[in-house]
Structures are given as structure tokens and as C-alpha cells.
Symmetry: C2
Subunit: 223 residues, 2 copies
DNA sequence: GTCTATAGAACGATAGAC
DNA sequence: GTCTATCGTTCTATAGAC
């Protein structure tokens, strides 16, 4: 099967963007590595920015589509009743896990791509990501609220923010996990990590010490 | 009081690096904004990389120094007994909070700087950050283990990883918090956020469902 | 649709006067 | 220690032949 010039450019762009980011990746790097001509980028995509946007869009949109599918499916099975937090976060995390999983376990390349896209500071990237996130957040936030009906909305919003932070931080920092914790087992098993991450997040979300701040003097020595 | 050319270059470098990263920031941007000559960068710092390293080093090192000071102080007060998780995470988070706090509340500029430095992919940056983190992690990890003596080491390492992820994710994503959650109160109050983050992390760390993975079918409907 | 060739601008770094 | 001027390189983008 033949791979089109366009697809080869996109594949190489993903690699280099994941490794070096937008500014540090030049079109010459891309075209040289892809074995295509420099001018082909502008022919197929129009500009460097448009190329990078297309590369990002075609990876992220399917993930969010799948997330919403899983959420709808769970709601169908529950007959519309509030879902468990585990089910909600499973719908959020599992499609991401599938996207980064290959037969060899973690696809570090793809994880770097997602990571880099999350922290890219170019304005047009930020606008795109804002859109990606907003669509999916507006679908999930009400479900989280339904599953935690007694929680103060402000308290819940903070916790949801920390939950997303934990998820995104775990992705962004994942390349460092081996250097931080060299003896950590199973770090190539994405499903295992997601299971553990769901546990961590649900514990943080359901923490009973609502808004309570430990007294620093008294809290010093653990009972 | 006069501000030296060197200091003005460093100050502007912080701003621009926080906003655009290393590659997208040019020396001309820096020197133009600082009102100094282009050649002064190479005179004072030697190269673009050396300038950015010096800028980063002088901001991060004091934070880690303060963290270890706070930990030692807490241990002195406890007479060497294991600390509460709250006390440990207070020592980790509070110096960061102080560093980003000005009289106007959150110093978004500094938060962006830290955030950008965490995700910068240049090799010399990564090596430096690895060193910054390792020093401080090797001091704190044993204390966390002493405070959670009954926990399986593998389980604990995963949770500590998620805790750091939540912390770093909260910093990295902080610029987006207002767009994600427009009605969130207190988001300019760094001490308040840190208090809440400590609660979230401690709940995740002490979660009783050790290594237990919810059955996805049964977990679907929240009781 | 793919190529060569190049325009036009911006880059990091440095030489050398003051 | 600060300046001007500039070197040599590299960048995105495009014109135009095939």
C-alpha cells in the first residue's frame, strides 16, 4: 500500500512536534525526514501553522468523540441515572489510553505529541485546544455534578480542576516517570496506570474533608 | 536604584520565555524590550542557552532550598518522628506559593515561567530540571515513605507520581483555569488553592482502595 | 502533483571602534 | 561595558518549469 506525500508529512510532523515543539521544528526538518520536497508542505497544507493544526486536529477529535460515545453508552445502560465517578472517569481516560497504546505498550511518541500540544503556547494552538476541551468539558461537567449532588459547587469545581490537572500532569510528565522513579513497575502498561489514576482521582473528588484546611501546627506529627 | 543591564536582560527573558518558550523567543525580542544592545547578551552571558539557564537557575534553586529548610524545621519540631502528609506537602507547596505571590495575588508571569520551564524540551533544559527535581525528590521521598509505612512501595510510588502530576498539572494548566471554569471563586488566592490541593493530594495518597480496580460493569451506577 | 531555485526576512554570534 | 555594523546561516514562502 502506498503512503501519500500528505500522510508522510503528517506522520513526521507528529514526531518532530512531539519532540521539539512548534517553533523548534522547521519545515526542512519535516520534509527532509519525510523524503518529500520542501514546497510540498505549502502545496498540501498552505502554511506551517495549517500543517500543525491539521496534524493535531486529526488526532484529538477522535479521542473526544469516543469519550462522549462512552458516556452516552453508560447513561443508556444506567437508564439515565447518575453514573459512578469511576464510570465517568473511565469514559474520559480510556479513549486516551487506547490512542496511546500499541502492541508494544505505551506509544511514547503519541504521548509526547499530546503532551506538547497541551503546553504549546502559540495563539492558534491555544484557541484550538480551548475548543477541543470546552466541547468535551461541557458534556462531562454536568454528569460529574449529578454524581456528587451534595457537594458545594465551588468545592467541586476546584476538585474537578485538580482531577484534570492530575490527568494532564500525568500525561505531560510521563516521559520523566522512568527517571524520577526508576524502580516503578508496570509503567509501560497504560491500562494499569489508568486504573490507578481513576482510583486516585475518585479519592480526591470524594474526600470528606470538604474545604477543611489542616492546622499546620497540629497536623505536623502524624497520629 | 539603578538596574544593571544584566538584570534587565534577565527580567525580560523571564517574561518572554514564560509567554513563548525558548525557541520562539529571540535575542532581539529580549534586547529590544530591555532597551539594551543586542551584543550585550553575548557579552554578559555568552550565548542564548547560557542566558536562559541562568534565568531559570536563579528562580528555581531558592524554591528547592526553602522546601528543604521547611522539611528540616518540621522534623526538628517533631523530634524526628514521621510527619503528617499535610506537613510534608505543605513544605513542598508553600515555597512555590510564596514565589508566585505578589501583593496583587497570583503572579501569572512567574507561574507561566515555571510552567514553561517544566515542559521545555531542549536537552540542556531537561538536564537542568532533572537535577533540580532529583535533589529535592531524594530528600522528600523517604519522608513520604516514613509517613505511609504500611503502604506497598509500588502502590505508593504510583500515588506519589500522581501527586506530583496533580501539583505540576495545576501549575501548568493554571493559565487556563479561568477559561475552563469561569465561575470559580478564589482562583487568585494562591494560599487557598494550595490548601485545597493539599487536601486533594492527601486524599489520593491515603485512599483505602489500594490497588483495587473497580469492576466497570458494577461500578456503573453510583449507589 | 512534484520539483528547482530563490526571494525576502530573521536568526545567533562576533569583530572592532569607543 | 556598550555600541554599530555585519557575517554566515537558516527560516517560511513562492514563482515557475516540468
Amino acid at each position: 500500500m502506498t503512503v501519500s506525500t500528505k500522510d508522510r508529512i503528517l506522520a513526521v510532523t507528529e514526531d518532530l512536534f512531539g519532540q521539539h515543539g512548534f517553533s523548534a521544528t522547521t519545515l526542512r526538518d519535516v520534509t527532509d525526514r519525510a523524503g518529500v520536497n520542501l514546497a510540498s508542505v505549502n502545496y498540501h497544507f498552505g502554511s506551517k501553522e495549517a500543517l500543525f493544526m491539521e496534524m493535531l486536529r486529526r488526532r484529538i477529535e477522535p479521542i473526544n468523540r469516543k469519550r462522549i460515545e462512552l458516556l452516552d453508552e453508560a447513561l443508556r445502560r444506567s437508564g439515565g441515572a447518575p453514573l459512578s465517578l469511576e464510570a465517568i472517569w473511565d469514559a474520559i481516560l480510556r479513549p486516551l489510553g487506547e490512542a496511546v497504546t500499541t502492541t508494544d505498550g505505551f506509544d511514547e511518541k503519541f504521548l509526547r505529541l499530546i503532551s506538547q500540544s497541551l503546553v504549546e503556547r502559540n495563539e492558534f494552538f491555544e484557541t484550538a485546544h480551548q475548543q477541543f476541551f470546552t466541547e468535551f468539558k461541557e458534556r462531562f461537567s454536568p454528569e460529574l455534578a449529578r454524581s456528587l449532588p451534595k457537594m458545594d459547587p465551588q468545592e467541586m469545581t476546584w476538585r474537578v480542576y485538580f482531577s484534570f490537572s492530575a490527568m494532564l500532569g500525568a500525561i505531560i510528565q510521563h516521559q520523566k516517570i522512568g527517571r524520577w522513579f526508576p524502580f516503578l513497575e508496570n509503567r509501560g502498561n497504560v491500562d494499569n496506570m489508568i486504573d490507578r489514576l481513576i482510583n486516585f482521582i475518585v479519592a480526591g473528588l470524594t474526600n470528606s474533608r470538604v474545604g477543611e484546611v489542616p492546622n499546620r501546627e497540629e497536623a505536623e506529627v502524624r497520629s
